[in-house]
Subunit: 457 residues, 2 copies
């Protein structure tokens, strides 16, 4: 489509001639309510920062209980989305209802009505980003979603501006605050997974049904969104390997600690040749790793770029004010006209790119932490060592604590390996699990090293 001049010019004019920008919020739950509060209560400040007045025109929902609790202006309340979408003085629709079905419908209707869309909805974008971006482009508007990934961390802004022309080699993220909170509690307070989850729920850090978070899917959604922009390729969510934190045992976290490692749920995206390795799984990282100190509800994303080198972005990955701040940031960027420019002139967006070659988890090479539960008698370790050796898996360290005599459930033996191929490790573990001396299936946790920086000088 050439230089995209046609579209960019039409949208340019749309923005450039506006003396004010009207916003409608659809969905007035916690994030929608906080966004409305910022737009209404911080109106004076906003006007001091930016030469384009941003005016909240409507709050669309079917239940205004929360909106009333916040004391929002009731004259803005409406159940009639159609009426809002037909208003000429609304240029931006902020979809903050969550879920995917209803939200998708709202976003599609807004885009078709020629409204720019801001959304915090990672599930929606991870599943339907390609078609929604395409639909936005067909309607000469843009869709912005800073709040969908890592809360207030302006990671999408950075990927689509300062880093847009750099070549990103790898990205490592702690992008789920619930999981990081639970893992921090397990690690620092020596809690079981269930205890830590209960604490997180008590503190409002985990949902009543936490499965989307703890099973890693929420992190995979964010990884799909970020990787698409970082690498300028279309990402298939279904092909991202996902492993959650819900099966982690405190004893492994403690063994890891003894060895100098801390456990994190990592979202990893790496170039390997002309393909991408994308995965979400618990990982042991050295206490010296740049992500090791990121604890509690905080998120962080590390990026390794050819020219810029290693960059890391840290902040509140969730929570109402942080998410609302990101939504308001997107609204401001649309009001400035910059979001539209990025959307028109950058070729990073999924509708402008081919599908990525996504590698299978079996192709990963890293170090592994393996805990065996085996009989405590002569010759056992020789069997294990043979199986590992046969598959080119070298042992880096071994840890077996003294145990009392006569245990019939086996004793734990912890092995760390040198770099090995995942496919080989899985095959070896399957074989070890079949051994008569093995009393429980092996536990296997990937150990992720700090990414090497390629410095040009």
């Amino acid at each position: 489509m050439g230089f995209g001049e046609r579209m960019s010019e039409s949208s340019e004019n749309l923005q450039a001639n506006r003396k004010e920008i009207g916003v409608a919020i659809v969905g007035c739950g916690t994030v929608g309510g906080a966004t409305a509060s910022i737009l209404l209560n911080q109106q004076n400040r906003l006007s001091k920062c930016i030469d384009v007045p941003i005016l909240l025109r409507a709050i669309v929902d079917v239940d205004f209980t929360h909106a009333r609790e916040l004391g929002l202006d009731e004259s803005l309340f409406t159940e009639n989305l159609d009426a809002v979408l037909s208003r000429d003085d609304v240029q931006i629709v902020a979809e903050l209802i969550g879920g995917t079905d209803k939200a998708k419908e709202v976003v599609e209707r807004a885009l078709r009505a020629g409204k720019n869309v801001v959304t915090a909805n990672k599930a929606l974008l991870a599943h339907h980003g390609f078609e929604l971006v395409k639909l936005a482009r067909e309607n000469s508007v843009c869709i912005s979603f800073e709040a969908s990934c890592a809360g207030a961390i302006p990671i999408i802004s950075v990927l689509t501006e300062q880093l847009a022309c750099d070549r990103i080699d790898a990205m490592y993220g702690i992008v789920n605050g619930t999981c990081n909170y639970i893992l921090t509690a397990m690690s620092q307070q020596n809690r079981t997974y269930s205890e830590a989850l209960a604490i997180a729920q008590q503190h409002g850090m985990a949902e009543a049904d936490p499965s989307l978070d703890v099973m890693g899917h929420d992190s995979a959604h964010k990884l799909a969104i970020l990787a698409a922009l970082a690498f300028g390729q279309r990402i298939d969510l279904e092909k991202i390997y996902v492993e959650g934190i819900n099966n982690l045992h405190p004893q492994d976290i403690q063994y890891g600690k003894e060895l100098g490692y801390v456990i994190k749920l990592l979202a990893v995206a790496k170039r390997q040749g002309d393909a991408l390795s994308l995965r979400v799984h618990p990982a042991f990282i050295s206490t010296l790793h740049p992500l090791a100190w990121v604890s509690g509800p905080f998120n962080a994303v590390s990026i390794y770029a050819e020219n810029a080198g290693h960059l890391m972005f840290y902040g509140r990955g969730a929570g109402v004010p942080a998410t609302a701040a990101a939504v308001v940031g997107d609204i401001a960027s649309i009001a400035l006209g910059n979001a539209q420019r990025k959307f028109d002139k950058l070729r990073l967006w999924p509708d402008r790119n081919e599908p990525a070659k996504q590698l299978d988890i079996g192709t990963v090479r890293c170090r592994y932490y393996i805990r065996l539960q085996v009989e405590d008698r002569p010759g056992v370790f020789a069997q294990v060592a043979r199986i590992l050796g046969d598959r080119q898996i070298s042992i880096s360290s071994l840890l077996q604590h003294e145990s009392g005599p006569g245990r019939t459930d086996g004793v734990p033996v912890v092995i760390t390996t040198y770099d090995a191929l995942e496919a080989n490790v899985q095959a070896a573990l399957a074989e070890i699990n079949q051994l008569e001396v093995t009393k429980a299936p092996c536990v296997c946790i990937r150990m992720v090293a700090e990414h090497p920086e390629k410095m040009n000088s």
Copy 2:
């Protein structure tokens, strides 16, 4: 000036109608050369990322030795800046000559010729930012300077986009890679300042004349630039309190370590009421502080915003590829038209704001590390304690190691205080230094606590 429509429209049109953007680099030293290399050698990649071709049209210098070493296209070399500035196919001038006199002249001539300017020159901006920004606006172009602060960390991009509408309460930065490298060596390898400086110089991490870095002025330049944008106020560089690292003693760094603190050169900007406290000085921070793990040549900037909460940005603060990456990022942002929009429509720029009320260092309240060198005999500490108590300075901890008998040079006694007023501390220290029992002037290092986050929910 109303909504800035006139300017923004004229510049809009300038950018929007361009099918390509021409760049001239002035000054082909290490950063200029690396920028030229990226623009020439990564041309294919740039064209895949952005719909606006970015073309290097000229390299202006008087000595092309380095340019030739890099194998840059000799047809671009010219000594004639005037000829370059008169070309219609050059829209951006990247000033990369450094220093302030010649650089200022080049930037002014480029702006007057209607060229957008990209510069990495922090000294120039800290001293003359106000007038240069004003001159850019008068000529309907913009001036971008991401590379001037914290290298490849996109901190200016973030301050002028996602955070432009948030209210920033405080900023804490480690913004000088040379100092951080030296302090890391002093701390981790127990080196003296002179030894650590020599190591830094051997590794290309410090200049032959390191005074601008080690005395804190380079950090103050960056603080002046960042604080102006973060707080939307004009900053007077001369009123920033500056203390360098060149007088630090290894024994204080080791005492700090014993107490659980690490030493960093911090650039601090905080709101206090309607005024700003701006300062650069060595500080002890807890090993649990978010900036504590930032070591070696890395930089980091922590920002505390009302809505977004705590954000931290980390990366290579200096070095040739990182700085060149930031310059190229600015060029891309100008090519997109976004830099101009930010420049036109945000009210953060110093020419649109009043001078800040900058507080004197005496108004700082924090904890203090104080090392006395006093006679080891009864009653000495009572005198010291009385002087501190008289000035509302409470002692939080005391540390005195056993020493051999008969020392005439006094023994070191380390005190940490609770929060106290700087003016009181300095007065107390002046008094203690006058005591007969004091054998050497007190050493005093501020202890900076983690900034409290005001969370809205």
